[in-house]
Symmetry: C2
Subunit: 203 residues, 2 copies
Amino acid sequence: MSIRYPNGKKFEKKRIFSGQKNVNNKDDRFSNRGMSLEEDINETNDYYRAHQIAVIHKKPTPLQIVKVNYPKRSAAVVTEAYFKKPSTTDYNGVFQGKYIDFEAKETRNKTSFPLKNFHEHQIQHMKEVMQHNGIAFALLKFSLLDEVYLLEAHELMSFYDKQDTNRKSIPKKEIEERGHLIPFGYHPRIDYLKIIDKMIDRC
Amino acid sequence: MSIRYPNGKKFEKKRIFSGQKNVNNKDDRFSNRGMSLEEDINETNDYYRAHQIAVIHKKPTPLQIVKVNYPKRSAAVVTEAYFKKPSTTDYNGVFQGKYIDFEAKETRNKTSFPLKNFHEHQIQHMKEVMQHNGIAFALLKFSLLDEVYLLEAHELMSFYDKQDTNRKSIPKKEIEERGHLIPFGYHPRIDYLKIIDKMIDRC
């Protein structure tokens, strides 16, 4: 029997900093509340669907399937596949007839949000959505502070497009000023559509 | 060396009839034109994006990932995964700010379209999209006749909800009357948004 002490913390931290996402988010207990951003959003979306507020789904993880086995009398098994970079954001759907599209990212940084968390094609996709009058935004979580902000895509772009070798992140202060803090709730946990609803009213 | 004669045709036909989709559609040469419906739609969506008409993507195939290997110095390999039933339709996106959502199916039948091609949760999803004023429809291809129809979701539901043990398909005549034939084009190949555009104008 082996007893393992939790001394692997540094490794885990590094992985989170790199902006990678765990496939199985059940193990992602980054935040003080013990819930990953993805879990919170999935529950929120379930709430929206159950209460007929909106229909928003997370897209499946894109995989390049190379080999599939078809064992007799059982389900097909994919035995070789590779992760592909997503060509769009992770979440989209419909709210009041309008197209909703967003990406969710978290960081353990406390003072700024690293832009490398966003893939180039995700940014490109958000720009296209804006062109077609879709509603595009990002949900940004500061895990250690337990704060989630909604940042509209055009604000995100204003930082992304002017990043240089010196600055590859958005200062938290700017996110506070130009974004919208979403208070945690019980049901739904992250009520991001409340903010979107107000924006639509303003239009 | 083994020489194989193509006597497996019956099996292949059966597979198509059952409404299953091939993961690698490059091999799907069902239609006279040598193009699968999926290929035609993907090219059409590429055209829409390139010409800034709309942003519509196919969702990745949903897989339940069980095992992932991380070989040193190379990309992670998924070594065990299973196909999951999709909980939504395959295609969605934005057109003139509006939410677009559809499913594409083909049949080798000539006189009717089998309803078993649609999963229950895809139907449920389309109903939810309609509730939220999204634009939901199906693209139905009669492969052997090389005809593609757009059938609005509410028309599809009117058949789906009243199917019984006797009738589990939509007669082609009804699709002709209540749907919209989409003529094949060169660019884009299946200009389904032309029909949607007219519908939006009518509203």
